[in-house]
């Protein structure tokens, strides 16, 4: 048996062990689970602004109209690198900020979506997670 074959088997065992130890969390994925033809708007308070690869997440606390405990929503967007090139920073949002968000909702109705825009209610500033202009430049 060639060494390479042994290594392949070892890799297979490691991968199988990883799969058994707990399914991958699923951090990196397509955005097709969000319904692109629908746009919802929510107002709430930022619980936390998760500035991580591969996707940045705005965790939003929303007070239900009929009272009751605040509900947590996850609003996902692209990566820190892409957002930086769209003018965002990791300080763009912080816990406690009052915001209005627009997003494409999860198709299964869960409390989550793909972020389209976020507006800071205290300043009126709107941030959009666009992918840039696809144009070269110095600035």
């Amino acid at each position: 048996m060639k060494l390479t074959s042994l290594k392949r088997i070892s890799m297979g065992i490691i991968l199988a062990a990883m799969a058994g130890a707990g399914a991958p969390a699923g951090a990196h994925h397509s955005f097709a689970m969000y319904e692109p033809t629908k746009t919802l708007t929510l107002k709430g308070t930022v619980k936390s602004f998760q500035w991580t690869n591969p996707h940045v997440v705005v965790w939003l606390l929303v007070q239900p109209a009929d009272g009751g405990a605040a509900q947590e929503w996850s609003l996902e967007t692209t990566s820190p690198g892409v957002l930086t090139r769209a003018g965002w920073t990791r300080q763009s949002l912080k816990a406690g900020d009052r915001v209005s968000v627009t997003f494409s909702p999860l198709r299964d109705g869960s409390r989550g979506g793909g972020l389209n825009s976020v507006t800071l209610l205290d300043t009126g500033q709107t941030l959009v997670p666009k992918f840039g202009k696809e144009e070269p430049g110095l600035k």
């Binding site: 397509s30 955005f31 936390s48 690198g81």
Partner: protein
Amino acid sequence: MGTRINRLVFVVGMIACARLAPLPAHAADQEAINRPAGAQDWQALAKLPDWNGVWTPVISDQVAQEKSNPPPWTPQVAKQIKHMYAEEDAGRPFPVIDHCFPTGMPSWMLITHNAFEILFTPGRVTILGEGDGNRLRRIYTDGRAHPADPDPSFHGHSIGHWEQDTLVVDTVALLPQAYLAVNEAVGVPNNGDMHIVERLHLQGPDTLLDDLEITANKVLSKPWRTTRKYYRQRAQKYDIVEGVCTQGSFTEAVDKNGNAIFAPIKFHNGVPVGSDSK
């Protein structure tokens, strides 16, 4: 006594012969070294084209080419691909990159939304990307050949050479599990024996083209030729940032001892559904 001496001479002679015998070919390979770079090696880099800055894929072109120049899938794979497109349309995207492994080759060059940079050093071109934890390509331009039996990896073993201002890269030894993907929800593992030849060159001052020819006989009915575009930005505020994919599966937390830790986030069907693990 004489016989003993003869025996001793014979044994010593055998040992000497063994030491002087030519080394087997694989042992000779192991003795290849990365030689010190001299002034001439560094000066030679000045003649290479200017690829400094940050290169970001033209995503609109990726999307357009996905439709206009799809891979020549084998009939069996074409059925899988058709099913994946249907699942994507239904909002159940297949998790091509869900596991946070490196996107790997050739999918990195084909489908990524994230930027990369290209470094020239003597005998080497290195491409460093962001978006997953180990997104880097080492392309040896020192004249070496591929190893006889290289370890398979997500990015493969790459050797390159310059033809005027075009970098020609030959890549083998890719893991069979490395995806040949056309978007983040549609693609298949190459299943082995994939070979990629690329020609990287500028088109105008700030557009880089990668002309790829991908031979993957387990999943393609013939070699697939395609081109991807990247645009350059020079502002330092756009410099490449660290991109550790698994970090997105965790939230910042503090343990009972006051230590800053990462705590897992709850996921459901691939998307985050709870900002803490409770």
